[in-house]
């Protein structure tokens, strides 16, 4: 067995992290007292897969830790242990620890052993009831691992008939066993049917194996790791007669059995009576294994962790692509045939063919775009845990509602929207929802509701974060803004403008700074991030009734609506979202300051004029403002009038990166290819305004 295991590490980690997500969401969904058996099962299976995988890859600390969790989960599963809040909390913490461990293993750094063992201790205490037991347990574990003297094992291995179909081969298991020590195997053929009835793909044989040598039970278990769900397995120590040693050795056996057996087994407190032990345990192991649901390695279609460069795509989408390409090939060969002999009749056919080609191409493009689309549940899935933790910490009762989880959006957008969303939800919980008593006093139910809703609207995805908390106090926001010098006391602002102040840098209205939110960094960052994605954010709030934050984002970063503009012989593209209006210049409204900066009076506002031909050093048709047009643009809250020669059409453009083969260019966010095959640059308005300010400073 000299396979290089490391090639599978990546898959293992991906699957394990997915498993952890499954466990986490499962645990959060558990109702204390009346746990849904299927949910517990799901959590158990995820834990089991992680244990199996980590054991196989030799990450023993992870496997050991998971084993304890698994035992606890197993007891919950078979109903011998109640699902308590305490247990769920501990399991959630364990999931965190496990995630830390896996991350540490993945990055080949050290595992925080103390933290791990403290949680593991807690798990064991919970598992074995009293603390004295835990100590005893720790001791016994120690003695087991130290016990490496010569021992003789009796293994009964009875595969279920479908074992071979799962790709496992008993011969290989025996080979592995033979490496451990001296072994003898006896084949039992009692179950062998008549020759005519034999299904060649089924396994009818079972085996008794004697194994002797310096072997630890774990080593044997490891060999059977991947088949222990598909067989009845009993590993016993031979010939030990002394009570005490039986206890020691049986303990893991019992635990192992419990793992295999979904029916109630005595809790480990009983293990101290060794004489009673062996019989019932054996019985259970024989009778129940067949009822066991087969544990599949995590098959949940969950996406990869956000930092990895890979993406999981559903088969449907890939099949659709393959179909599409098939069509394309057919169209191509049709056009090819037409091209071989061109006469007048074929002209019509040619046009048909070209139309078909166009359709195919467009569909193909749409489908390829869909590959990058993921349901927003990937961004939402972290919230149940977060809300649970926060409400515990703050002493608030909060119900989280997630709607529209299947709404799809581009993976890149998803990655960038995650953190802002976390911040907004934290804010809603921290500042929005009141304490239960306050809520009751205000005539509201004690439990506050935070709702996340996602849906498509036009070419955008809209995410709404709604809470039924105390809402935003307009006056508090306003006086705070005055205090911070953001606005003047005499300013007459609309509600909208007041709420918008929340996004101003350095603004925080929380009376106390908690570690949840209220540091005053964040909301401005949230707004900036959303702006960078080409989206916008707005708040609606009613005092005492709650607030609603609406985020609008483009579905994809790959395509944008652009306005083509012309300066001299060059064409540029201005993103339509940053254009406010375009107008012809009236000479009277232009003011030159110190002969350098030009300001244009737009109604009651002065905006700086950015001459694109100056900033980019181009040759314009005319440098006289009245000859051209001013496009009023806004970037990062700043407005400017972009002076251009002419406006051309509007069209959707596919964004291409300049950085792939060159590097970022100031004032340019990317490039695109126009219908005639030439390249046009897409302007970055924020960068452009900065660039013109710099030039002005340099010129001055």
């Amino acid at each position: 067995m000299s396979i290089d295991m490391s090639q599978f590490y990546q898959t293992f980690f991906e699957e394990s992290f997915e498993g952890l997500d499954v466990m986490e969401s499962g645990l959060l969904g558990l109702d204390v007292g009346a746990a849904d058996a299927e949910t517990v099962n799901t959590i158990f299976r995820a834990a089991h897969s992680i244990k199996g995988g980590s054991g196989t890859f030799g990450f023993t600390s992870v496997a050991d830790f998971t084993h304890v969790m698994e035992t606890l989960l197993d007891e919950m599963r078979d109903g011998s242990r109640m699902v308590t809040t305490e247990a769920v909390d501990l399991l959630l913490k364990s999931v965190d620890v496990l995630r830390e461990m896996l991350t540490a293993v993945q990055s080949e750094s050290d595992i925080d052993v103390e933290h791990v063992s403290s949680i593991q201790k807690k798990l064991e205490v919970l598992l074995h009831g009293e603390s004295t037991d835990a100590e005893a347990d720790a001791e016994s574990e120690q003695s087991i691992s130290e016990d490496s003297g010569a021992s003789s094992w009796q293994i009964s291995f009875k595969p279920l008939d479908y074992l071979l179909k799962t790709g496992n081969d008993p011969v290989r298991i025996f080979k592995e066993l033979s490496l451990l020590g001296e072994y003898e195997v006896e084949c039992q053929m009692d179950n062998l049917p008549l020759f005519a009835d034999i299904d060649p793909e089924s396994c009818y044989l079972f085996w008794d194996i004697k194994l002797s040598g310096e072997i630890k039970k774990e080593q044997i278990e490891e060999v059977f790791e991947w088949v222990d769900e598909d067989c009845e397995l009993n590993i016993e120590l031979n010939g030990s007669s002394e009570d005490e040693s039986v206890t020691e050795e049986l303990k893991p056996v019992v635990e192992e059995l419990k793992e295999v057996a979904p029916v109630a087994v005595e809790t480990s407190a009983n293990v101290t009576e060794p004489t009673k032990k062996t019989e019932p345990a054996n019985e259970t192991s024989l009778s129940i294994a067949s009822t066991q649901e087969k544990v599949k390695p995590s098959t949940t279609k969950k996406a990869v962790s956000t930092d990895s460069g890979s993406i999981r795509v559903s088969i449907d989408k890939v099949d659709a692509l393959i179909n599409m390409v098939g069509e394309l090939v057919i169209t191509q060969s049709m056009l090819g045939q037409l091209g071989e002999r061109v006469d007048e009749d074929s002209l019509e056919k040619l046009q048909d063919g070209l139309a078909q080609l166009e359709r195919n191409t467009r569909e193909l493009q749409e489908n390829v775009m869909r590959i990058r689309m993921l349901p927003i549940s990937f961004a939402f899935q972290r919230f149940p845990r977060m809300v649970r933790d926060l409400s515990g910490k703050l002493g608030k009762d909060i119900e989280l509602r997630l709607l529209g989880e299947q709404t799809e959006l581009d993976k890149t957008v998803m990655e960038k929207i995650g953190d802002p969303l976390v911040h907004l939800v934290r804010n809603s919980i921290d500042h929005g929802i009141e304490m239960p008593d306050d809520r009751e006093a205000a005539g509201k139910p004690r439990t506050g509701v935070v709702e996340l809703n996602a849906f498509h609207q036009g070419g955008n995805i809209v995410i709404e974060i709604t809470d039924d908390g105390k809402g935003i106090d307009r006056d508090v926001v306003f006086s705070k803004a005055v205090e911070k010098g953001l606005v003047s006391e005499n300013d007459n602002l609309t509600d909208e403008q007041v709420y918008d102040l929340i996004f101003a840098p350095g603004f925080s209205t929380a009376k106390e700074v908690s570690d949840v939110s209220g540091r005053g960094v964040g909301m401005d960052v949230v707004k900036r991030n959303i702006r960078e994605l080409g989206g916008n954010i707005e708040i609606v709030s009613a005092k005492g009734e709650g607030s609603k934050i609406t985020i609008r984002l483009p579905l994809t970063l790959a395509i944008l609506d652009g306005q083509l503009i012309r300066v001299g012989g060059d064409t540029y593209i201005v993103p339509l979202v940053s254009i406010i209006e375009s107008l012809q210049v009236k000479a009277a409204q232009v003011n030159a300051i110190a002969g350098q900066a030009e300001l244009y009076k737009l109604r009651d506002e002065y905006i700086p004029v950015v001459r694109l031909h100056n900033v980019f050093d181009l040759k314009a048709d005319s440098e006289v403002l009245t000859d051209g047009l001013i496009v009023v643009v806004e970037g990062d809250g700043q407005r400017a009038g972009l002076f251009v020669d002419d406006l051309m059409g509007q069209q959707q453009v596919v964004i291409k990166s300049l950085e792939t083969n060159y590097r970022p260019v100031d004032g340019v966010s990317g490039a695109t290819i126009l219908g005639d095959g030439t390249v046009a640059l897409i302007l970055d308005i924020t960068g452009l305004i900065k660039l013109s300010q710099q030039e002005r400073i340099e010129a001055a």
């Binding site: 300049l658 083969n661 060159y662 590097r663 640059l681």
Partner: protein
């Protein structure tokens, strides 16, 4: 060109020696330069480019190469030679440039392509500072072929220095 083409007949078609690499050569200001042929993606005639604002003069602009945006560098101007009017022989050689495991596609404008030679690695001599117009740092070696001198360019360095450096290095 004709003379070069004749010698090429002798070269092309012979068995490729394991020790030998093939080089594409091109002419610039009467001198012949060579680049590793495996780096050459394609050769195309000069066509209009889209200029990039606020970049050095030797960066002519970008073109659309089947959907990718590829910057075009005038090699004469890059080396500080006098630029010339582009004529019918002016070509763009599209090259793969590798630096720090980052692959980029770039085009260079040269006067004309010349030939393909098989060159034994041992024949390439280190370049002395011979006062060529091309700064010695961009030359990886010299080879003489039929009494002609061929300058082998270190294309990864030429197209990865100055304003052409990889983005994050510029930032850092």
């Amino acid at each position: 060109m004709t003379e070069a083409a004749q010698t090429a007949e002798g070269n092309i078609g012979i068995e490729i020696n394991a020790e030998e690499d093939q080089y594409l050569t091109f002419i610039m200001a009467e001198e012949e330069y060579g680049v590793d042929i495996l780096r050459v993606q394609e050769i195309r005639g000069w066509d209009n480019v889209t200029p990039i604002p606020n970049t050095p003069k030797y960066i002519k602009g970008v073109i659309n190469l089947r959907g990718t945006i590829v910057p075009i560098v005038d090699l004469r101007e890059r080396f500080g030679m006098e630029g010339v009017e582009y004529g019918p022989t002016t070509v763009v050689i599209v090259l793969k440039v590798i630096k720090d495991d980052v692959e980029r596609i770039m085009g260079i404008v040269v006067d004309a392509v010349s030939d393909v030679y098989n060159i034994d690695a041992a024949e390439i001599k280190p370049a002395p500072d011979f006062g060529s117009v091309v700064s010695i740092e961009f030359v990886s070696g010299l080879v003489s072929i039929q009494e002609k001198m061929l300058i082998i360019l270190d294309i990864d360095h030429v197209l990865n220095s100055g304003d052409l450096e990889i983005a994050d290095q510029v930032k850092g």
